[in-house]
Symmetry: C2
Amino acid sequence: MVVLASGCRDAFLQQKREATMLVELLCLLVFSVRLAHYAKVIPRDKFWKDPKNICIIVVLLLTLTDMIIYGGLKAANCYSVRWSRVLRPLLLINVTEGRQLRRAFRSIRNALPEISYVFVLFIFSVLIFSLMALKLLSKRDLKTIEGTPYFTNYLEIVFELYVLVTTANSPDVMMPAYNKSSVFAIFFILYILINTYIFMSVFLAVVFNNYKKYLKEEIQQLVRAKRHKMVRAFGVLQEQKEGGQPVVSHENWNKLVRQVRPDISNAHKELLWRVCDDDNQGFIGKVAFVQLADLLNIEVITLKSRPHPLESIIPNLYQSGPSRLLCRVVQHWGFVIAFDLIILVNAVFIGLDEENPLISNSEWFFLAIYVLEILLKLYVFEPRAFFSKHSFWNWFDTIVVFAALIATIINSALKSSGGYTSRQVLDIVFILRVLRLIRVVDRIERFRAIINTLIRIGPAILTFGQLILVVYYIFAMVGMELFKNKVKFYEDLSNPESTYCGNPLLKGSTFAQLGYCKNNFNNVVSSFILLLELTVVNQWHDILLHKHPPMLTAVTHKSALIFFVLFHVLVVIIIINIFVAFVLEAFFVEY
Amino acid sequence: MVVLASGCRDAFLQQKREATMLVELLCLLVFSVRLAHYAKVIPRDKFWKDPKNICIIVVLLLTLTDMIIYGGLKAANCYSVRWSRVLRPLLLINVTEGRQLRRAFRSIRNALPEISYVFVLFIFSVLIFSLMALKLLSKRDLKTIEGTPYFTNYLEIVFELYVLVTTANSPDVMMPAYNKSSVFAIFFILYILINTYIFMSVFLAVVFNNYKKYLKEEIQQLVRAKRHKMVRAFGVLQEQKEGGQPVVSHENWNKLVRQVRPDISNAHKELLWRVCDDDNQGFIGKVAFVQLADLLNIEVITLKSRPHPLESIIPNLYQSGPSRLLCRVVQHWGFVIAFDLIILVNAVFIGLDEENPLISNSEWFFLAIYVLEILLKLYVFEPRAFFSKHSFWNWFDTIVVFAALIATIINSALKSSGGYTSRQVLDIVFILRVLRLIRVVDRIERFRAIINTLIRIGPAILTFGQLILVVYYIFAMVGMELFKNKVKFYEDLSNPESTYCGNPLLKGSTFAQLGYCKNNFNNVVSSFILLLELTVVNQWHDILLHKHPPMLTAVTHKSALIFFVLFHVLVVIIIINIFVAFVLEAFFVEY
Ligand code: NA
């Protein structure tokens, strides 16, 4: 029976493995075709000079080799590692769309030498403090709360103090010494002051300085490259005028702009030409031509004071006394305040118990009010101006209110059709309901400035998101290879194995007691969430090596710590600091 | 018997109380005398216009009133609070020496309006997320690891999510929802991204911007005030010259400088005059006079290439061949590297077991080597140049080596006299021994630059230290009034009361199990250390309200949380950010 079941499971696993490999082969094929197409379009010598293309080819070949070796070893039932998975992000980075990502990686690479000096100094400081701790505390027969000897092994002290830099084991690491004598607190206070507060600030300062320096250099380089290309374009288009100066005629200029930006209107094009040819000569010189690229990047907002469409459809009614009064009411500041108050009352109602019929029915009232508000605004303001590209909050408002309306209708239809409530629909209703409340912050000028800055840095934050995802992916792949299935999570909590995460070594461990079983490397999703928890830093030593017995040492070898310290240095010390530097700079510029 | 003992204890407490009050009265007297003297020196209207003096008088009067009321109530055996203790830091801030401290407080006050806008937005975000968490999670019958209902009370959710901003309860606060479904992790990831990473960076950005803005304004104001005063001084000293322009003669100028800076040498004074009177006219005009204040602030380093004193004492020997060879050896880079290697070997020996006689005797060898190094350097380099004001590392080296020598001699004298080792002396020996190793970083140019920046910002960090101490003092005084003796620490761990910190309400609490009893408000020292732990933030919710049963609610009222949240906002969000902004700015300027 058992053999049969195990045979079945093996067959299932093999099928799954084959399916995964098929998908992977397809991906490889897509990348290869893409590259082949690219090689056809671009001149041959240029193609081979670009390190990005070389990188893609090498990764594709390595992945193919790895798949063949893996398939062969698996067929021979040998243990094998899919090491090429770690290389996958390189494909993502090196395609043309990864330009932002490449820039982010460059800024890390550029910051590395400076950071490494501070890092060496910081590690030196940790080592010196650890040596002092060893000399001062190892011979005092102190015990940790678990009853093990306290601060007797140098390498353990170094790790504990390294963790203290992240504050994750404060105050526990201090307590045995502090309980012995208050004087020892001085040691830890100095340590935290120097290593947590000063050194971490110095890291931020160095990262920030480098970030700004290389940003400046990169922008200068871009500007120079653009200028160079524009001069070459001028060389192609130029005509010799009687004065002897080479110029570009209005006609050629028009053709060029139509090719480069077919989307811009004639009025916009005419405006740009007027700016270039400010003497109205019918042609422009080199200097005026070169600025074209910058001119095309300027966003021209067309502010048309168009009349309201209703004014042409029902002029008499729209211009009548009551209609004018309504317009004045909607534009009055009292209208805004009234709706703010309604939102606040709504917030209280949302917080109250849903099962009370009064409360659940009040939702219809609020929805009606919000829809009415939007309709009134559309009656008063010109709809195209109201829904212009830059009216973020109007879009937000309308989408959230109408989505909430639809979701609420679906929910109550489901409910009345069979007394059945879909949890998913209800969750969406709740989320939309709460999102509506955000609207209130837009009313205050100062808040709007802050929120607008946050919205503007949104796209750049997404680039950082990509960067973090790439780094997470690499660590997740390595982590899955090292720690897969060492710790198991059971949905069914009545399963006795769930009390020790399916690993007898963790019986009675605090890791299992805290319900951390799902913090594992068994699949990509849980790996990513675990890495996020390690990024947030708190409890990271507990996640890794909760005492009684040390979790990590229990399930693998102690050297696995290197993996986690490396992750901490790369993500928390470097990437998070670049992120903070980036937000700081954005606020210095915008706010 | 018991009555007698308790009577004794009361008498002892009363004596102690009386002694404290006597000391306090003496302090009040000192401050009063100081103020009276100041009032005599300064013109009357100026004295009463200065808010600092008014503040000191009010605090002195309030303290006196409080002491009288307290004494009276104690005599009548009534409960009484020494509320005026909170005012004490005001005395410290308002004396003339507190100028730096006042400036630091001003920078906080100036940053407050801007910070409060971001803070309101941040709190709004926490409230919105909490409402969403309530709607999404409260009806799913989830349980925390302690078996209590998870996320069912709005205010508790707000507090838990506020704590999550500090990352102190990550990942525990997420685990019940995450164990239910991985989808809920998205909620917490978004929360941490927005509130921990973005909002905390925005706080830093706002604080940094304000810090720079007001620093600039303050410096401009100082420069203007200085100029104004110098112009007035010029008006007093001026003489009418034949040209019609008012001038100051060399003679008057000399008198002035001698009065203002009696410490500077004649050569230095002559140099300054030459700079002012660059046409060598014998008198200077208004413009040249006004820059005097800045000139006096410039530090003039006298670099004299003095011959070595031994050259005049034993010229033949000092100039002989072997002596010259010795000088060349000491100045060679190999000499530096040899000593770096010795330091590294020394570091290994320090880390090894002290009880091995080879190891403990090796200390004499290393001490001899280090003393020899210093003597050799003194032989080669001119001693006054070697010990100049700016040779920080030479001073550091010499002091540490000779202190270690003395301490080691005392230690071995004690040991040989009775086989007795004083723990304190040994600790000092260990500390000095490890400090010697720091020397190694000075050899690398890049490290020296970083260390020098850190040393240069040292004095300003001390100002921040004062600021933190003042804020800690106020919170410690209030904390002691609110929480004194609610939690007790017993030196003697065999005392059964030590397992629950002397408070039956804490029986079986994790707070007691973690050995946190010494984290209490029973005296000034432990209050300060507890506040430092709260500044470091980690485990702060655990220190306050470790579950089974919630510690804080167990020993006091829930509203005591306000005290801790207020502390967090003031110290962690404002002061620590100002500190980081300050280190950042120092590194932007210096490095
Ligand atoms: Na933490």
